[in-house]
Amino acid sequence: MVRKLFPFLSWFEHYTPVKLRSDLIAGVTVALVLIPQSMAYAKLAGLPVFYGLYASFLPPMMAALFGSSYQLATGPVAVVSLMTAAALEPLATAGSPGFIAYAVLIALMVGIFQLLLGVLKLGLVVNFLSHPVVAGFTNAAALIIATSQLSSIFGVDVESGAHHYETIYNIGKAALVSTHGVTLGLAALAFAIMILLKRVNPRIPNVLVAVVITTIISWAIGFEHNYKCTIRQIASPEVRLAVTTHNVVSDGIEQETNARTLLNATIAEKGKKYGSHSQQIMELEYQLSLLNLRIEGEKARLKTLREQLRALKLTGVRQTGGSLLFYVKGTTPPGSEIYGKTWRLKIGNQKINEDMIPLVGGGAVVGDIPKGLPSFQFPGLHLGIVLNLLPIAAIISLLGFMEAISIAKAMAAKTGQRLDPNQELIGQGLSNIVGSFSQSYAVSGSFSRSAVNLQAGAVTGMSSVFTSGIVMISLLFLTPLLYYLPQSVLAAIIMMAVVNLVNVKSFIHAWQAQKYDGAIAIITFACTLVFAPHLDTGIMVGVALSLVLFLIRTMNPDIAMLSKYTDGTYRNAARFNLKQCRHIAVIRFSRSLFFSNVNYLEEKILQVVSSMPDLRHILIVANAINELDASGEETLSLLVTRLREAGYDISFSGFNDSILDVLRRTHLYDRIREDHLFRNVAFAIDSIYESTHRNSIEKDCPLMKVCFKGLEVSPDVKHRAIITDGPK
């Protein structure tokens, strides 16, 4: 019982100093990969980068302590980070305190969901996500993740579109005119370092090397170059007007949004009083529609203003007295003392503070990371938000677990460890729950870090405990070193990581196995891309298609007529071009028999009866009938009665014991009769052959002898004795 509650106790059986050393080396190695990667994934999740470190602090340790796998490395991962961002994008602005709070709340919800599934031993629920659906989704997610980093790679700032492809289009347009060369150069350098080191020596932590080199370069060249000016320091009256107009429109939207909230409350109140179809309500709803139209119009106007302001390039000119004036590039007075290079306005989603307008003269860096461990606090719970986030939290739980368990199985295949999926769920659940108390966002198992963990020699989950320890030391002492890390390098790290998620072979493999599975993979892929950033839509389309297909398959199971084959077995006569017996129809049913397919079986049997004029006996080969519900039992009962009344006999072979129990309970066993229930086809045919072939004109029975359907040959053809003599 103690071992069940605290599975990590098993690590310390026969734990030697050698194993401790292996785990320590592995833990440190993984931490070197985890620290830069986690910051990159936090950025992907729409959070400040240091939240990646918070998500790497307690969760890896908790997942290892209470999970099942020894080598699974838990922490921030690309797909879950993307799904977190996608889930929260409609609710809050990325990076805002509300966004962060909701991200932590999702982690708590995901953790509770996973823990409950694990405790209730419902790990099988993950089977609802079939491999083709996951393949389609993961490939699409990889593309979405990679393209979402383009704005950071090129150093451009764009307005998000309603759909992901619109945002990418905006990025492309902006990149053509406003790419920041140094930003792009540092990203390219990071790519080059990571690719080269991976080829030269995969054991070198290429991500960390890229981070160190680019951070040093960024510090040395003064990559970050920011300035805050007042509106009076902007020389161009058009620009000043654009800024003030932006703020006026922004204020207007805020006022109208507040008015809309009040109007909604009034409508709700008056609706209760006068009824929802009263004239007062109709008038108020009309006002609400007009207000919504105005708000949408103003938002579109604001979007255009932001695009114009973001596209502006300014040149700083030093004045006498040391102050700066900013001119639109190309309009500076001749002979001016230029300060810095090109400046751009940093426009977020809020009002512009006219006394402190942020200008960017260089590239974006990670910036200040709060030193110290995250504060421990219970995530805020808002019922409305919880209900809103419930579907996505469920999907993240299942996807996250599926990722973790498939990685754990891959590790276990190499180490021979026995895994317990429900225990792994508990581990993942606890890691997310405890992580949420330390301001972590949702985490899962990482394939790349788990592979590093295994290769580095991890023997037990102590390696993840050491990893958490290294992250803790980083948070306490090393965060100032990360200030100058370029954001474009983090974007490059993400893009390199997701390249491994793209797996075209999985589509081909699904298509080769079953065309409809391939189609589901492709449809899920396409829907995920088209509906992005609403990623849950893509997955739900895939799951819905899988379920529909499953139902269709169960409704139309494979039914084959069997005949004897050359190896003595009974095979599909149509497939192997075999003749069928005139008097015995051997029918193989390849699914469990229940409500959705009983009619299909009945129709097929009646079809066979009508197509075989000399039919005397039907033998149903029931090896694949693993389940028989009430509808199935009733249909079998009716069939037995009808066929026997019509003069045919019916037998069954291959029922397993649980089905025989059902037949006994319902007394169908007695109606079929024991001498008509056989263990296998051969025995059944031997038993029923004689009675069915009395006075038969059939010379060679295809159930006793192999009888192929062949083409007759002209009698003029000379026969070879070796053929006419028959097999020896």
């Binding site: 192929f708 062949g710 040959v713 053809v717 070879r720 053929i723 006419t724």
Partner: protein, 175 residues
Amino acid sequence: MEIKKAGDLMISLDKYPHIPYWFTLRQAMAEIENAEFEMNGNKCPCRVLLVFDEKYQLLGTVRRRDILRGLEPEFLSNLVIEERKNYFDSGKDQPSKHPAIDKLRESILDRAQRPVSDIMLIIKATVNYDDHILRVIYEMVDNNVSVIPVLKDNRVIGALRSEDVFHEVAKLLLG
């Protein structure tokens, strides 16, 4: 231009190599190695055998590549095709966990004892002896077969090879 018919170009069944379905792959291989046809005064090898049952009904065909496929040892047929190719790729390291190369011969000899009925292809298409050569071409291309049985009064009288059809078309085009 004389329009040839299927019956004009076919090889009569007496002269076309054929075997019973219970022949082993080894026996089928020997039959193919020994059989040959004459074309333009040259001898050309047989590529496809016809398979019959003891009642002399035509059941199917066996090509050389079907025999080769049938000889594949079982331990290899369980791998995906890329792995199988890599196993024998001279530029790649051999997987250490698979049986040594000398066991391959044993496996192949064992597989060679299987009956041809395990690997034969069912007859997909036939032509009548008075069918136009173009009809023959369509059937061959549509069904991707290189030998097609020729029937007269619904009975097989011979077989038509794609080489003979091709040769006939070449004569028309090249003179």
